[in-house]
Symmetry: C2
């Protein structure tokens, strides 16, 4: 759907609330990311979300999610003490953060699991996607997601990272694997790529289908230097770069069976993690060979001093972001002799469905040479 | 402190609120389990907890935690839109679940991390304990906590477990390790022993101090059969026993470097997990050799058919539970020729500080022969 058509549809939506309400398909089911046994929030096959929250003495409950993820949804109080309501329209496929405002205070929805975003644990909801099969939990061999605590002299603490090791890693003790260092976005942390992104299931499924050769993924916290959480204007790359390159990578190479060299090391990041990826890869051409920015900017040919050290540049975003910019940058890199690939996620914005799909597209391109 | 003295102190506390308020030490600090950067909730050196919640249009905010973990604390609304208040008295050392009631609706505290208990994700707070050093995050070699997804034919899904592997596991690929299967309590899940219990840090510290020989810990969900979450009256051991003994143990032995025999396999559980441990160990004498019930009942000598198969029986509880019952059962087992040990956690009740301490006492007794 192009932008003009989207605008026309939105106009129609807003001018015919009654018609729209009648057209909602009543096949609502609990969201994939609900707390165990919780019936609400629910989602339907069209992408609508429906909420139901118990707050008998409250005057107002509002959900931060609305049409297309924007605005909000005001819930209506029933005589049973529950507030309920449905989004005004369908939302983008995939994962969305949200919260409730209850009489002016911001709380999470007791029905939903929590996910770390915007520097806090927020409620999350999953809108079923037409392509959700690639991140479904299937009866295939599963890898492990291991929490490690690695020593960091530069920050004087033990820092946490998660390491995805593919199925087979624990069985064939002679195999060594390439490594992708994969960064979250602003306000998120090292839990995001598995909790929200389901990166481990994406990998398990790609490996089971024989679409990729197994590799390790390492995820750590990327907002290392901030004094006060979440102040991106204070962000400096130095402290994160030190933790990643001088501390984490040596720890990983010492504690996991990696192929510990530049040709077998990739870095990727979403949003702010893309900015970090660009800065760290350009400053460390002998450490990483494969670069990927997911909704996280672009490289220009002039950025890279030694073309021979770069095996892949992958640039992606959602169709509702800046697809032309991403495609143009990839084209210019290709014209300059780089192995560059662009990917645009259909009908998604700056959100995790874009990044899940990006990982699925990126993975088969890594470490193939 | 005996029960009589506790009662006297409680009476004094209730009759002299003003005196008590004056005696609160103003050394409040954010709880260890706060969300990143959040100033509240706070705890002081005496065990008081102080809360501060933004809800400008709310009429009432109550915290479920009160004196000694009982009752609740009603917060007072300030002109700045924040509700605040301090518990009426000090609470037991260690971890406590809690939630907020905001105008009649139950929500979590936006300042605190969430922990799975009572079949839902709840807020958690940590009261500093005099012995908190044994579960502190220290600059010692750390093991890994790995999430695995193992196939379960009996329940027709992939099930989740967490596996603690000790420091060194990933380096010396020739070593094999004994395994402790460690169960949570009612309404908790496989995340409890690390999130609330900090079992991985307890192990890392014990190993660093040379107090135990390294072993693996496996934690999975123990309320396998329930149709509706949290209905303990519907609990049957069969489905959990099948998952544990027929599916999980073979998977662990195939995917981790275990000593895969009865002498090197232990089972322990807290509360409901103790009940499960008792039932599963008695029904599977050729699978487990070391048994531990933490606030989870006792064994009688007559329960055990073949004494020679049991290497250790460990029974524990908090001093505010049933210490005499636990000690008496251990004595009777000892008199009957069993290697039995009892442990009573001082000044704690049916709560995680009891179980953290129990794990610390249990670990050095495991797999020593």
């Amino acid at each position: 759907m192009n932008k003009k058509m989207t605008s026309l549809l939105l106009a129609a939506t807003f001018s015919s609330g009654l018609l729209m309400a009648q057209s909602i398909t009543e096949d609502f089911k609990p969201s994939r990311f609900n707390q165990p046994g919780q019936a609400y929030p629910q989602v339907n096959s069209q992408g609508y979300a429906r909420f139901r929250v118990h707050a008998p003495a409250a005057d107002s409950v509002k959900v931060s999610l609305g049409l297309g993820g924007r605005g909000g949804t005001v819930l209506t109080k029933g005589t049973d003490g529950f507030f309920s309501g449905t989004t005004e329209g369908p939302m983008d496929e995939g994962f969305h953060y949200y919260n409730l405002t209850v009489n002016g205070g911001r709380f999470n929805d007791p029905g939903a699991l929590n996910f770390f975003g915007s520097t806090r644990w927020e409620s999350g909801i999953e809108i079923p996607a037409h392509d959700q099969d690639f991140y479904a939990l299937k009866d295939v061999p599963h890898g492990q997601v291991s929490q490690i605590l690695f020593p960091s002299k530069s920050t004087q603490t033990s820092r946490r990272a998660y390491v995805y090791t593919p199925p087979g890693y624990s069985k064939d003790l002679n195999s060594r694997y390439p490594v992708l260092y994969l960064q979250h976005g602003w306000g998120e942390d090292e839990t995001a790529w598995t909790n929200q992104g389901l990166a481990h299931l994406i990998m398990d499924n790609l490996i089971a289908e024989g679409k990729i050769k197994p590799f390790i993924i390492v995820m750590t916290y990327g907002m290392t230097n901030e004094i006060k959480w979440g102040r991106i204007r204070d962000f400096k790359i130095d402290s994160f770069e030190t933790v990643l390159v001088k501390e984490l990578i040596p720890y990983i190479d010492a504690h996991f069976r990696t192929k510990a060299d530049q040709p077998h090391r990739a870095m990727a990041g979403l949003s702010m993690g893309g900015m970090e990826t660009k800065m760290v890869t350009l400053a460390n051409p002998n450490v990483f060979s494969h670069y990927a920015l997911l909704s996280g900017g672009t490289y220009a040919p002039a950025d890279i001093k030694d073309k021979s050290k770069v095996k892949l540049i992958f640039l992606s975003c959602g169709s509702k972001e800046n697809p032309e910019g991403v495609k143009k940058a990839a084209d210019e890199l290709k014209a300059a002799g780089f192995n560059s690939v662009s990917y645009v996620s259909p009908n998604t914005a700056h959100e995790f469905q874009t990044w899940r799909r990006s990982l699925k597209e990126l993975a088969p391109l890594l470490f193939t040479k």
